[in-house]
Amino acid sequence: MSPLDMQVEETEAARVLGICNACRYCEGFCAVFPATFRRLEFGPKDVHFLANLCHQCGACLHACQYAPPHEFSLNVPRAMARVRVKTWSEFAWPPALGRLYRRNGLVLSLALAATVAAFLALVMASSGSLWIVPDGGFYAVVSHEAMVGLFAPVFGWAVVALTIGVMRFWRSNPPGPSSAAAMREATADVLSLAYLGGGHGEGCNNSDDAFSLARRRFHHATFYGFMLCFAATSVATLYHYVGGMPAPYGFASLPKILGMSGGVLLVGGTAGLFWLNLTRDPLQGAPERKSMDLGFVALLGLTAASGLALALLGRLIALPLLLALHLGAVMALFATMPYSKFAHGVYRGAALVRWAVEKRRPNEVILADE
């Protein structure tokens, strides 16, 4: 099957967007609508682009005069969510893994985290107790070389697989030449989560038709927390290879400050997103995606929480056990990255760039403007 088939998800999205195109009341909420209104027909390429442009804010659902119980039963966020998860799996490389994840995302992530953690714990237990606090910190339990040897390939593979997937997505529907202004705009939209603002800056919908900035704030905490953790790892890598200063680092060191603040933001952000997801109006998303979405947020939260625990408690108790937990979670996060909800950020970024380029091109649909 090619990613550009018109299957049940794409067909439903095309039906929904066709009705939106004839109504247009939601134009000001986000980029999906102006992008929709530049089209007259919605083939699979358009549908996958628009679905990834959708931030699932829910504003158009609560505003919709055609939403259930109307017989048109229009639900843009749901239709988009269903196409989006297909994008991540159908464009994924290798496709078989993408499909496997789509069917069993939550189970796969958690099972992987548990298996890796158990395996590591077993290895560590065979050479000593899980409850000790060895003198040399965690490198005394798993050597730096072993960690790099274990994680570098998995991380590298995640980056390669995700890049191939997004490139396939991009090339399936190239928007034409880009410009600096378009790139600037797309970057700003990503970094500020512009489209979780609801068009009026008051935020998006969660449990009802009231607007709230909670999702944007928790997402910011999650995103920037993740980036801080990534920065911490990068700085530590430099310290190790360039500065000749191997871990562990003190609490006042740069890697620790970055990592700890990132970890705290990540734990808070993912807890908030988890809670928002649980309290969200069930109409807003696809029910079959709930466990996948929650699973990803949980895994991210677990990675951050176990990392924090390792940093704070590892000096006191059970360092090998905490380390096994943390490494298991990190491993599962990396391994599923190209197919999990993590992919949404990369595909959304690509869609936002595409939109920023497309909107600067002449509109081919010239409606009678009398």
Binding site: C23, Y25, F29, A59, H62, A368, E370
Partner: protein
């Protein structure tokens, strides 16, 4: 407050702000609340200078002249001017209660000067008003249709919901017109020269809850009436639209780009007479006057992508004869009608943005603008029926928004929205003017009702709202 749409909420919010305790009785369940306001797109507003989403200026006099034109003079200048002036100043109040505006929509830029578009449309606006009402402590009862009220000596005493009686010191009637009452529509339009009941073939663009029960009750007990029951805002919509609540997306907007034929494959009106706002408002009625209350808008490939995309795909064929077959029209007659039209097309430069010089010569009816031969396959046909937006029969009122009995206004019974819009709109329509009227008189009625409930109210308070 009886009703749950824009006018009722404007009245409820105003009355609550004025200190009254307010109960709002909405006939529909929560999911369908708000009546026709859920389908609203914009509000027509006067302004003397650019105002946030509104460009240039739309002065009072121009608004008034537009209203005069569309109603053919069937309007009340005093009430019309009250609504027009209120539209200049009401938007900050609407925003305070959560309404948000957006620039004119793509494909509707012709209204960027005259109409302020609600972000997300009428349902988003209603959601905001209901949230505001809840915050302010307005009590709301859903599934509470009021079909009769107790009136003594022109004073409101109580409203009935089934066998439950609600006593109040004042009341605002804002429960809509009667457009979703099939029997009443049938009766109002009567039988035509072919023995048909045209009303049976109308589709209702809005709520199924506007049965007009309370309106009928009020007329029965002798409230002064206004308007002709056969008058309404009626547009040509896709015949495949749902019976109720098809809303905006079912309109067919390619009339001026082709020809429109009736069941006999004959043209019957100048498709290029005028721009969209006027055209939009007259074609429902034109179709209602045709046999079978049905017509077909026919275009060729040149028109594709030049009008608001219709919600259902058109019937498509590579030849006119083929199109006729698909539309169940007489092949020879349709081909003859189109060929005759094509042969009559004259003139120069097609420009859909102005009243151009592409017109027909020597056929009747003529097409005065945008006439281009229909000769480029594929051809498309859209079958249309009359779609009723709202009816104009209502209760006569005045500047005070009070219901009148034998010319004497009630002290504590007021009317707003569709139930009195006929005072301003005797016939015809201009986009967004229903909201202008509903908002202005909703707020006046709310202020008056609050004052009546408190036993008076200062003149200043009432003037503030009326302004």
């Amino acid at each position: 407050m009886i009703g749950g749409g824009n006018a009722a909420l404007c009245a409820a919010l105003t009355a609550r702000e004025a200190g009254a305790r307010v109960l709002l009785l909405e006939a529909a369940p929560r999911a369908w609340r708000g009546g026709n306001s859920a389908h609203v797109r914009n509000i027509r507003c006067m302004h003397d200078a650019p105002q946030d989403v509104l460009v240039e200026a739309y002065p009072e006099e121009e608004f008034w002249q537009d209203l005069l034109k569309v109603t053919g003079g069937l309007t009340d200048e005093t009430l019309a001017r009250i609504a027009i002036r209120a539209s200049a100043t009401c938007r900050p109040w609407l925003v305070r209660h959560g309404a948000r505006f957006q620039p004119s929509l793509t494909g509707a830029l012709h209204t960027a000067r005259t109409n302020a578009f609600f972000l997300g449309g009428g349902k988003a606006m209603l959601n905001a008003y209901y949230r505001s009402a809840q915050r302010l402590g307005v009590r709301v009862r859903y599934e509470a249709p009021v079909e009769r009220i107790d009136v003594q000596n022109r004073r409101f005493v109580a409203a009935w919901v089934r066998d439950e009686r609600f006593v109040a010191r004042a009341c605002v009637l804002a429960a809509g017109g009667f457009e979703s009452n099939r029997e009443w529509l049938r009766e109002a339009w009567g039988r035509n020269q072919w023995g048909e009941y045209p009303g049976d073939n109308f589709l209702i663009r809005g709520t199924r809850f506007n049965t007009g029960a309370l309106l009928a009750f009020m007329l029965d007990i002798g409230a002064d009436r206004i308007g002709d029951p056969s008058q309404s805002h009626m547009v040509a919509i896709d015949a495949r639209a749902p019976l109720y609540d098809g809303g905006i997306c079912t309109r067919i907007d390619c009339v001026s780009l082709g020809v429109v034929v009736n069941r006999d494959a004959e043209r019957f009106y100048d498709e290029g007479e005028d721009f969209w706002p006027k055209r939009y408002a007259i074609w429902g009625r034109l179709v209602a006057q045709q046999r079978g209350q049905i017509a077909h808008s026919i275009i060729d490939a040149k028109a594709v992508g030049r009008f608001m995309p219709p919600v259902f795909p058109g019937v498509r064929a590579d030849t006119l004869a083929g199109l006729a077959r698909e539309l169940h029209l007489d092949e020879a007659r349709l081909v003859a009608t189109v060929e005759q039209f094509n042969a009559a097309c004259r003139g120069g430069k097609f420009d859909h943005t102005v009243l151009d010089d592409c017109r027909t010569e020597g056929i009747a009816p003529s097409k005065s603008h945008w006439a281009r031969p229909i000769d480029t396959p594929p051809f498309f046909g859209y079958t249309v029926r009359p779609g009723v937006t709202f009816t104009y029969l209502g209760l006569k009122t005045g500047e005070d928004s009070a219901v009148r009995f034998g010319g004497v206004p009630s002290d504590n019974l007021f009317v707003a929205g569709e139930m009195m819009a006929g005072n301003v709109l005797g016939m015809g329509y201009a986009a967004g003017v229903g909201m202008t009227i509903g908002t202005a008189f909703g707020r006046i009625a709310g202020a008056r009702a609050a004052a009546a409930a408190k036993g008076g109210g200062t003149k200043k308070e009432l003037e503030d709202v009326a302004a």
